[in-house]
Subunit: 148 residues, 2 copies
DNA sequence: TGAATTTATATCGTACACGATTAAATCGTT
DNA sequence: AACGATTTAATCGTGTACGATATAAATTCA
């Protein structure tokens, strides 16, 4: 056996890429963002921006902190993202008069209107995935469990 | 019902964050990287760098392209990452004399030696995850199927 | 009250991801 | 041989992620 080239079997099983749940997760997440991109480009959104809009379409206004709780992201990620959404005219940000530490994020009319154009994104992605609905639901719940 | 605040039920089911497989994927992947961080900090690696090292521990040398196929990443992501691994003394990069377009990535002694210190990372992460082994395997295969 | 602590964002530096473009080397076909 | 098409990495610009730190407002409590 070659001395210079490590054959696959030389690597312990636990270090094999194929065996790693986390790599599968990492790869699938990257793929997913790439799958979304063409759909979201039409809306002028990135995937994380789309997620933020989903949260706001569900309920608005919300504070930056509440948004971060929903998305599991902190302000160092959200602040620049929200500034870009604001620059795009989709949201408005203002300090909470009740508590000047908080920043309230609210949809603009343009932001609300975008929901109508986003309504068929899940359907299109579902088709692109080509996976039974119940399998998707099962996988989703497993992943939520992983994320605790 | 309020005009200014959209209640959760106002958003169509398909746009609810809770229902989105992709968000579950996105969140779980982010969590996973955060879970790895303290373990990998000790090795001086980021999570994507760790993945690249896993691939090289399995087989080296490899071209940048082969590495990209294994990780499903392209050169715009890999080139800077590999330069950092090279700067850290873990790998060496050289043009393939056979085909000057290709760049061959190989482990240094230091890179090979790092495997011994990385050997217990999967075990530690497995403990942190606290999930039955067969459930992990099942989830992993599901995710690979999603990524096609 | 007022100092110490906590809380809510923002800022900064580092490191991915990825589309688009570039540049060099190789290949195919004539 | 020649030259256009293809392949392989690198480069560039934009947008996340996130730890560490900063800042300011609110809260606690001595």
């Amino acid at each position: 056996m070659s001395q210079k080239t490590a054959a696959p079997s030389d690597s312990p099983e636990v270090l094999r890429l194929d065996n790693q749940l986390c790599f599968a997760l990492y790869g699938a997440a990257n793929r997913m963002t790439r799958l979304y991109r063409p759909l979201l480009d039409a809306l002028g959104l990135t995937y994380p921006q789309y997620l933020a809009m989903l949260v706001l379409w569900e309920q608005s206004p919300r504070t930056v902190g509440a948004l971060g709780d929903a998305l599991d992201l902190d302000s160092s990620t959200l602040t620049p993202l929200l500034k870009r959404l604001e620059a795009g005219g989709l949201i408005a940000r203002r300090r909470d008069p009740e508590d000047e530490r908080r920043v309230i994020v609210d949809l603009t009319d343009k932001g609300r209107a975008l929901r109508d154009r986003a309504i068929d994104v899940p359907e299109k992605l579902f088709c692109a995935l080509d996976m039974p609905l119940d399998a998707m639901a099962a996988l989703r719940e497993r992943l939520k469990a992983v994320a605790r």
